[in-house]
Symmetry: C2
Subunit: 305 residues, 2 copies
């Protein structure tokens, strides 16, 4: 949600003791009065905004809609459990469209052993709208939030960044298992998934944590797609610009205490690379090192809500 709008809502509906984590993180945490905590995320995707059914097929749209919600759950190192899918289907061919959408989701449902627990199926004269609510449970090693980064923590990222528009924005691999695995073996102080862009999502972590971050630009893992896209788009942007700003990488940014980061980087326990790209610092803001190791502001590129 957009910040001004969250502020408006918070003024009218104050925080509730049953929701220790609500508006403003990747997912909310709801304490159930009967016992237990639910981790919940919800996303609405609309044809023409989040995807275009004249460019991709409904199966790809269904896959992506669920994958981005799973990525939000991954960002909390939570365990996804059940999904609820509401759809507004264009009246023409609505049943076939619904089947394709769900055919796109089903591989992820099986991969993460999810329950399809409910939803609401409608048709109308408007374009396709899909709303997914994903319900999860707190992972065995607690919750990862955006707000726990401490000065001195290393900035560790999974995978490589940039150029997702070439296809990875549809072929999303939510880092659910990776987040649970890392949380089980290393101390993680904060986390977020990269949807808006590496620099912008890192900015979300420093804002919520009340600290700053300095990125070592030489160490940012650039995806081959970022290089190809820099060439293809023929614009002034470098592959690094694309890595920092493109977004929809759906990788994780983690705040990791130094010694755990050292161990993690040496272990490389995942099938995708883990890279240390810099440090959280006390000085607020987003920075990068100049060649003489002084700090220069890092522009917050990427998608602004």
């Amino acid at each position: 949600m957009e910040t001004g709008w969250i502020r408006w809502l918070r003024e009218r509906v104050p925080p509730h003791p049953n929701v220790p984590l609500g508006l403003g993180d990747d997912a909310a945490v709801v304490a159930l009065p009967g016992g237990g905590q639910a981790v919940v995320t919800t996303d609405m995707l609309m044809d023409g905004i989040d995807f275009r059914l004249d460019e991709i097929n409904p199966k790809q749209a269904g896959y992506k809609a669920l994958a981005v919600n799973l990525s939000d759950i991954a960002a909390m190192a939570a365990q996804p459990v059940a999904l609820f899918v509401s759809v507004a289907l264009p009246r023409q061919g609505s049943r076939a469209l619904a089947e394709s959408l769900f055919d796109g989701m089903i591989p992820l449902v099986h991969q993460f052993d999810l329950a399809l627990a409910g939803g609401d199926t409608n048709s109308w004269d408007g374009p396709l709208v899909v709303n997914i609510t994903l319900l999860g449970t707190v992972g065995p090693h607690g919750l990862l939030t955006r707000s726990g980064a401490l000065p001195g923590d290393r900035i560790v990222v999974t995978g490589r960044f940039g150029g997702s528009i070439l296809g990875r924005h549809l072929d999303v691999h939510p880092r659910v298992t990776e987040a649970l695995q890392l949380a089980g073996s290393y101390r993680l102080n904060a986390g977020i998934d990269v949807s808006d862009g590496l620099s912008r999502d890192l900015d979300h972590v420093v804002s919520e944590s009340g600290c700053g971050a300095v990125v070592d630009l030489d160490r940012v893992p650039i995806h081959p797609d970022a290089i190809q896209w820099a060439v293809q788009s023929g614009g002034p942007s470098t592959p690094l610009d694309h890595a920092l700003g493109d977004g929809e990488d759906f990788e994780l940014i983690l705040a990791v205490p130094q010694e755990d980061a050292d161990r993690m980087l040496a272990d490389q326990p995942l099938s995708i690379p883990l890279t240390d790209i810099g440090e959280f610092i006390a000085k607020p803001g987003l920075w990068h090192y100049t060649p003489d190791r002084s700090l220069k502001p890092l522009p917050r590129t990427g998608y602004e809500h």
Copy 2:
């Protein structure tokens, strides 16, 4: 959801042990592996289908969107806890529209002590779409479902029926507190809220319970609106037809063992009337008594999904 579509889904995504109650009831129950059970309902409302913004204001739409979800939670005798609101807002004046929508919800948020825990706010060139997911917890006296009615149970309803189109379809009073209160004092074997229509929703209960029901038409509590609407609409339908078929009454139909029903009817513990309108029977189907007390099929009027 529509029955054929639920069947298609169930074939592809089999029931999951974490979801003892899923597709097909008013709300789903999700067992959280970490402990606890969540009761979850979700509804998508679209401008032009569920309401028309050229006829009602956005505040009324917001109120209704939340009220119908609360009514689903009431149908399970569950306790609502937190809501998630996703919206697709028409780009023109989207902020003002969002504020009005939420202004409509806020009285219910306060009345039921709900947490606004998250959501997704978008704008586009299409009409308004609102999706609400409401998370609750199992009430202290367990869950009410559609499937527990037993032959011999009385059919007890809250309130009066018909003619909701005259205004009560917007001024919905979800029977959350009433359901919890009744569940605390009487044995209730099954329940549903009346959205599609008294006869159609009763039919949902008998289908899910594997029994039948006979309605004493003389005892159906007819709302004054049903009488007025029968006159105003000038059609062949009687006030009783409207009471049986109009829908959007958002009252409860309960299956209550005889002795509890007797006590409940004598107590009249609510500020709205409780009426015994007939009996669940072993013979499948929906019936009413003829003047000589034989059974005649009751037409299933009301909204068909």
